[in-house]
């Protein structure tokens, strides 16, 4: 019982992270129809932003700084590389996001080295016991903040005019232009939100484990699985998807083999894409026909 609880608690924390990165994928994809392969690296850039800020700011503010850094990197990426390539095909855009991912990773390596980094947790203290499982206080922050961020995003998209305009752009770009919504401005907002969500939550995660410059790829792949489970469309299903990915990984590593857990998750991704590209939702988002 306690070991099951332990798996669930760890999966909740890790899943909140994967889900947040996945939400970043979804926001950008809905808006522009492209998958940003640099999403994981942007999140890691946010994490390092928080590491740097933690030198002279309290941890909670450092996390905020991390979110802002990731948002800035994301928006910069849009204006410097995605927007100039508007007329090009999907292939070129995707390659450029892969290249941007490499650039971000190498810049981080140059500045911070390859060694892992960490900073102090938001609130000091040891783990809490929940129904026989242990969970570090920082992980509660992680889960709590990701839920808050998710709710804020949901409110933004459902209730605010800008949020509705963003959705309108995603639904029908031409009609959005007809009513006077500027696509460029909306895309910038989308990239900023995607970066902030992924980078902020990644920053909260840094104190419980470590962060290194090369983390982007695996983080991105896990976030991508979460987004796929969300049908590349629904934010809530994406958060749930993040939890499911983490649950599979945690359970497999606890009960079968720690070493092969990641492999199993990626095999699941390939099967998922081929067999059920619509994820947990009913609508087919993946562009297979």
């Amino acid at each position: 019982m306690s070991s099951v609880m332990q798996v669930v608690l760890s999966a909740l924390a890790l899943g909140a992270l994967y889900g947040s990165v996945g939400v970043g994928f979804v926001i950008v994809y809905r808006m522009s129809g492209m998958v940003n392969f640099a999403q994981g690296n942007i999140a890691v850039a946010g994490g390092f932003g928080a590491v740097a800020a933690s030198k002279f700011l309290p941890p909670l503010l450092a996390v905020l700084a991390g979110a802002l850094v990731a948002a800035a990197v994301s928006v910069l990426m849009y204006f410097l590389t995605i927007r100039p390539l508007r007329g090009q095909g999907l292939l070129t855009q995707t390659i450029v996001t892969l290249a941007v991912g490499t650039v971000i990773q190498s810049v981080l390596q140059l500045v911070f080295g390859t060694a892992p980094h960490q900073f102090d947790p938001i609130t000091a203290g040891h783990s809490i016991n929940v129904l026989g499982g242990h969970i570090p206080i920082e992980s509660i922050w992680l889960i709590g903040l990701s839920v808050v961020a998710y709710l804020a995003l949901a409110y933004f998209f459902d209730r605010t005019m800008i949020g509705k305009a963003l959705t309108a752009c995603a639904v029908n770009r031409y009609a959005a232009g007809v009513v006077g919504i500027s696509f460029g401005a909306m895309a910038a907002v989308a990239f900023a939100l995607a970066g902030a969500m992924a980078g902020g939550i990644e920053s909260v995660q840094v104190p419980t484990s470590f962060i290194s410059a090369g983390d982007g790829l695996v983080l991105g792949l896990n976030g991508f699985i979460a987004a796929t489970l969300g049908g590349f469309n629904k934010l809530g299903a994406t958060m749930t998807g993040g939890f499911l990915v983490a649950l599979v990984a945690q359970a497999f590593s606890r009960y079968v083999s720690a070493g092969q857990a990641t492999t199993v998750v990626f095999i699941a991704l390939v099967l998922l894409l081929v067999l059920r590209p619509e994820g947990l939702t009913r609508k087919v988002a993946a562009d297979r026909v």
């Binding site: 005019m161 509705k164 305009a165 959705t167 309108a168 639904v171 029908n172 031409y174 009609a175 959005a176 232009g177 007809v178 009513v179 006077g180 919504i181 500027s182």
Partner: protein, 246 residues
């Protein structure tokens, strides 16, 4: 006399294919004009050029005397010239009410305007009020057309460009939409440019008409005159049409 919309000598090409060749027309305040013509005549392109969805290269467009040549889409909507696009193009996954709010996006900070205009739209289209919270994609074709018109009204336009509102609609529904447009003009003094393939319905409503064929205006005149003109049937149904219209 200052026209609500003045389009002069507009030409347009996609790549090497010229779609519009020196097209001019004007609309007075409170006037309804129609641009009719067979498919492929360039009607949609013309409206998209005026609404700045396509870039204007040759020619000049003025709305209430202001040249729109360098403007983007948003600025043209601000000037009071709004497009109801072909095929409705509603935001299908958003509610009817949200669609209307988005129509007023450029005036979203003017709460009073939004409130007042919403009331006007729901008054004209009680069906939309009934379906306020329904997703726009679940509406019937006719209802979507009403929504598209309502959405355009939300920006408080003085000139409305309608692209094939009868497309795919049964004749009765087309008639109903046309009557609504007539009512709008009467009550709000709206100027309307109606692009239609359905020539008879359009000429019934409009004051004047232009016949577009192969990217050129081949005929213009009052609706009454155009209705009598045999050229239209020839352009639509081929050169040797002999039977009189029933």
């Amino acid at each position: 006399m200052n026209a609500a919309l003045d389009v002069s000598h507009v030409s347009f090409s996609y790549g090497r294919a010229q779609v519009l060749d020196d097209v001019s027309f004007r609309v007075g305040a409170g006037e309804i004009i129609t641009i009719i013509g067979p498919n492929g005549a360039g009607k949609s392109t013309l409206l998209n050029v005026v609404a700045r969805s396509h870039r204007l290269r040759t020619g000049e467009v003025t709305v209430h005397g202001s040249r729109t040549n360098g403007m983007n889409q948003r600025a043209v909507v601000r000037l009071g010239c709004v497009l109801v696009p072909e095929g409705r193009q509603v935001f299908s996954t958003q509610s009817v009410h949200d669609n209307l709010l988005l129509g007023g996006y450029i005036r979203r900070h003017d709460a009073e305007h939004i409130h007042k205009t919403l009331a006007v739209v729901y008054d004209h289209f009680p069906r939309l009020l009934e379906r306020r919270d329904q997703l726009a994609g679940t509406l019937s074709g006719g209802e979507q057309q009403m929504l598209a018109i309502g959405r355009a009204l939300m920006s408080g336009p003085s000139v409305m460009l309608l692209d094939e509102p009868s497309l795919g609609l049964a004749p009765q529904m087309t008639e109903r939409i046309m009557r609504i447009l007539g009512g709008l003009r009467r009550e709000t003094g709206l100027s309307i440019v109606l692009v239609e393939q359905n020539a008879r319905a359009a000429l019934d409503l409009a004051d004047r008409g232009y016949l577009l064929s192969g990217g050129r205006v081949v005929l213009e005149g009052s609706s009454a005159d155009l209705k009598q003109d045999r050229t239209i049937q020839q352009v639509y149904l081929g050169g040797t049409a002999s039977a009189p219209a029933s």
